[in-house]
């Protein structure tokens, strides 16, 4: 009964119907729902972290340096996950750190996707010579291992979180170009595009109104994947000292600061890594769910 209603709604009104259909398939996927729940918590902490955290993330408790977490000997409830070598509360730093990773993900995906989609559309609609030039340039960027290129870009721009984000966005962008161009190429030959052209639609209208909405599914999946890649790469750059600078509680930078204490205080190393892993895992779970829900091939089987 419910299904009949929703398919009827899909016929009457296209867009909410599509959304509802998507949600129907996404909800089926337990992993994706777990990922979504974790991502919701992550987003909440990113937005309200400083108000949720028990302590100030940069406050140093001089009489409680390298205190173990609460369940170990010497741990106290004031510092549930212990303190770092400077006596800063681990839990507060992790909570406040969520916003940096979140911001990295949002910024990188927005910049890389917008740029990549526009360049991809241009490549897909332009004459062959321009298309070849654009794709060769993308090949050139893709020839460099992404982390290495990002490292060198940050070395040029100067180490900071903003520059790390710009570098990662540049490195991830060619994937969007390729993806967009490939779907534009296959969509362009279909009848609905020809009829829109015959009806007098200009190139801009064909690009953004006619073709683009039909190419979005793989791009959305790619957006989820590059959100997690961006978080991982930014943390790696922070770990190498080329991302956020101390005392910023960015998770990768925290790991770099904790490195020399790994054999003495396991908690300063373990928790930031778990934070990165859980966040990236949640986003990848969502990405897998998105892919399955948006891929019509899998739906029918």
């Amino acid at each position: 009964m419910d299904d009949a209603l929703s398919s009827e709604a899909a016929m009457v009104n296209d867009r909410p119907g599509r959304l509802r259909e998507f949600w129907f398939y996404f909800r089926e996927n337990r992993g994706a729902m777990i990922g979504l729940a974790i991502f919701a918590v992550f987003t909440f902490l990113a937005l309200f972290g400083p108000w949720v955290a028990p302590h100030d993330a940069t406050a140093q408790f001089r009489d409680a340096t390298l205190q173990p977490p609460v369940w170990q000997d010497g741990g106290t409830w004031t510092h549930i996950l212990g303190t770092d070598p400077l006596g800063r509360d681990m839990l507060s730093r992790l909570i406040v750190g969520a916003r940096f990773s979140f911001f990295v993900g949002v910024f990188v995906v927005c910049i890389a996707a917008t740029g990549g989609i526009i360049i991809g559309l241009i490549a897909g609609f332009s004459p062959k010579w321009l298309d070849s030039i654009i794709m060769r340039i993308m090949d050139i960027v893709l020839a460099f291992p992404s982390l290495l290129l990002a490292l060198v870009l940050v070395a040029i721009l100067g180490p900071s979180l903003t520059n790390a984000m710009i570098a990662i966005a540049i490195v991830l962008q060619p994937h969007y170009v390729r993806l967009t161009r490939a779907s534009v190429m296959s969509e362009r030959q279909k009848d609905y595009v020809t009829s829109a052209r015959v009806a007098g639609a200009g190139t801009m209208r064909l690009m953004f109104v006619t073709v683009l909405p039909n190419c979005l599914a793989p791009i959305i999946v790619q957006a989820a994947l590059s959100f997690s890649t961006a978080i991982l790469d930014a943390a790696a750059l922070g770990f190498l000292g080329m991302g956020a600078q101390p005392p910023t509680p960015e998770w990768g930078t925290m790991l770099a600061e904790a490195r020399e204490f790994i054999l003495r205080a396991w908690w300063v190393v373990t928790f930031p890594g778990i934070a990165i892993l859980v966040t990236v895992l949640a986003i990848n779970l969502m990405g897998d769910g998105l892919r399955d829900a948006l891929d019509p091939k899998l739906k029918r089987s």
Binding site: G31, R136, I137, D139, I140, L142, A143, F144, P145, S146, L147, L148, L149, L151, V152, A155, I156, G158, S228, L232, A235, A236, F239, L240, G241, M242, G252, L255, R259, I262, L263, W266, V269, T270, P272, G273, I276, L277, V280, L281, N284, L285, D288
Partner: protein, 335 residues
Amino acid sequence: MLNYILGRLLTFIPTFIGVTLISFSFIRALPGDPIQVMAGERGVSAERYAELSAQYGFDQPIYVQFWEYLTGVLQGDLGNSFVTKRPVWDEFFALFPATLELSLFAMIFAILLGLPAGVIAAVNRGKFFDRALMSTALVGYSMPIFWWALLLIIVFSGNLQWTPVSGRIDLLYYFPNPTGFMIIDSLASGQEGAFTSAVRHLVLPTIVLGTIPLAVIARQTRSAMLEVLGEDYIRTARAKGLSPGRINGIHALRNALIPVITVIGLSVGTLLAGAILTETIFSWPGIGKWMVDSIFRRDYPVVQGGLLLIAVMVMIVNLTIDMLYGVINPKIRKR
């Protein structure tokens, strides 16, 4: 076929020039005047400055400089390191075997575990094994490997004291390195314990570097196998009464391998990016650590040359895979 190969080779040339152009512009985009950096804190007199910029060609117009650079690159001349004064080309190929050894072992580790894991998951689709293996693979795929390395060090080097923390071999051993592969050279040296030491140094970096390729290969093998297992000829094979082992192992896996080989080839870039982190953490004297150190030391010719050589290497691997793909799968050639 010849046309296909020639066509692929032709696209290689503009990409190569572009990669050279990018690595060429980096040295000019980096902050600070290269000659001032080379001179260090003592500074440099105006005459000496002019002399040095003439020597390095910085007084020439930019397109002349690029032409000189490009012709130099084609002759294997990438300039000398500011720090060691040795040619970048020589330094690269002296350190490259260390990275190659690590990457090869990481890839073998990933393939040996990833292929069977993918096949087992596909054959048991939806059952416990499938879900357990694929959840593990997703965790591996999401792993920040620099943290994974630190964890393994805490457990295996710190608590259990099984493996050393850094380097390729204990300092006790010294022998010539004809192949550059520590595993082979230590065995050839005949010194007692050298081989064991080399292996113990290799274990953790191999696991760390192989983790993400392992997860990718397992996931790709599973999905390729699932696709192939739905084909008609598998049903035919089943109807003929072939054993499941034969169907899965020979008929299905062989055809599922094509996308898997592509993924393995594409992992080369990932592997080199991972080598940067892995080598830095384990003080593994390879290309990745060399690049990171040079970036911090502002050793511009090394950064420039290393970037170029790594990119060319990735391009050559991708080109080879494209061609192999054309050989394996005739449909590709027609495009």
